[in-house]
């Protein structure tokens, strides 16, 4: 079978793992990259140029907190000059009005502001830091600029009850887009899953509320809802398929097919310090490992949905089924779906059976 190599469309630039927040569901790996291992500006700038040449359209600046990089304005400018659409995915914390103006001037296209809740109290509990009042200030500053704005609410068992207040913030500020992104369970979130996984009842509340909001906000704010995939019937097409659309460069220059790929044992990730992005995309064993369909097992191998969901998430297959090439266990057709159902059953016991107490979280620390 001959297959044409896909073109990478999106680059996730994890500029640093340093962050003033310590969110209990952080998507960074458990082994955080040290400050001294971070790529210098000139290497990042070369990476942006190589990405654009390889066909990448968009770059997401993330972290950690990307604003923790002192060269952030220079990097935004360089990525824009290279021809990329530049998004900043940020807590908004190390920002002031002047810095925001500089970022916009440098060519920032899109500002995505993350929220841990709709109240200071919840945000503190989740991020072990004070950040909510600053986010409200950032929302005011953003009104002065013509830049794309997305509010991103990460939702889970501990903050779904604030959904109405979150929607009130949306009504007040009318961003182009609002995302209600359910926590998915890898890394830090997996360690805190017991406290974070919502109940079925919460999920149903959420679906109903957001459907109503979507109708109401049509033509004003685009509403995106990411369901917790443990509750889904079929898996999500994780990163649009392994090695099919997205590349992630971590702070130390290692190139990964997704945020969590390091959890899969036995994969060597190549580094932008040694090879070009295109070379890594086209021929590194890491990107080839689960690209296409050759690696699939049954039931994926003969399933009609394999071109839609690409077998789901490889990291989740490893974490829950112990085999990175297995069907994603959240799939209703997966032989290991029982494991997910057991986890859901524990969360959905009759309410009187769940003692109401403050969860003990494992907070994400800062790297050295």
């Amino acid at each position: 079978m001959t297959t044409t190599l896909p073109t990478p469309l999106a680059l996730v630039a994890e500029l640093t793992h340093r962050c003033p927040l310590h969110c209990v569901y952080c998507s960074n790996p458990l082994q955080l990259a040290k400050r001294e291992s971070e790529l210098p500006s000139e290497t990042w700038i070369r990476v942006f140029q190589e990405a654009a040449q390889a066909g990448v359209l968009q770059v997401d600046f993330t972290g950690g907190e990307p604003l923790a990089r002192p060269d952030i304005v220079e990097l935004v400018h360089a990525a824009r000059v290279a021809g990329l659409y530049v998004s900043l995915i940020t807590s908004g914390l190390p920002l002031d009005e002047a810095k925001l103006a500089e970022l916009v001037e440098a060519g920032l296209d899109h500002f995505q502001l993350s929220f841990q809740g709709a109240t200071d109290e919840t945000a503190r509990e989740i991020s072990n830091s004070t950040s909510h009042p600053q986010k409200l200030r950032v929302l005011q500053w953003l009104k002065k600029h013509r830049v794309g704005v997305t509010l991103n609410f990460v939702i889970h068992r501990q903050n779904i009850q604030e959904l109405e207040e979150m929607l009130a913030l949306v009504d007040e500020h009318r961003p182009g887009c609002v995302e209600f992104a359910s926590v998915q369970y890898y890394g830090w979130a997996l360690a805190n899953r017991e406290a974070l996984l919502p109940t079925r009842r919460q999920l149903e509340f959420c679906v109903a509320k957001l459907k109503e909001a979507e109708e109401r906000l049509k033509g004003k704010t685009r509403v995106v809802f990411v369901v917790p995939d443990y509750y889904a019937k079929f898996p999500k097409p994780c990163v649009g398929g392994w090695g099919r659309k997205l590349m992630l460069v971590s702070p130390d220059g290692a190139v990964l097919p997704c945020h969590a790929a390091r959890v899969i044992p036995g994969i060597q990730f190549e580094n932008v310090k040694e090879k070009s992005l295109r070379e890594i995309w086209e021929s590194s064993p890491a990107f080839q490992k689960f690209r296409g369909e050759e690696w699939m097992q049954e039931p994926c191998k003969s399933c009609d949905r394999r071109h839609q969901d690409f077998g789901g998430c490889r990291c989740q297959a490893f974490l829950l089924a112990g085999d990175a090439a297995a069907t994603d266990p959240v799939c209703s057709l997966a032989p290991t779906r029982g494991k997910v159902d057991l986890i859901l059953a524990a969360v959905n016991q009759p309410e009187q059976a769940i003692p109401e107490q403050k969860p003990t979280y494992l907070y994400r620390p800062n790297p050295l």
Partner: protein, 91 residues
Amino acid sequence: MKPELTVTPRLAPGVRLNDKSQLPRTLLMPERALRLNGPSLEIVQLCDGNHTVQQIAEKLHALYSKAEPKRITDDLLGYLALLHDQRAIDF
């Protein structure tokens, strides 16, 4: 939502066309990108805040003189409504 003929659509904040030198021409938006060709590219290029929907329709009538004008205008209104619902344009 379909626009009135008198409004002047323009790209929403955070939405822009990629550079002329980059092919295919693509409308870049937060977390999404839309490949454009033929009429869709011509329409988006006229969503600059300076052309009314009526003026955009007239330009398309001239470009596609063999097609029935009413049909072109209907298609234009439908396409602008789609772009608006996707938050790609404001009017």
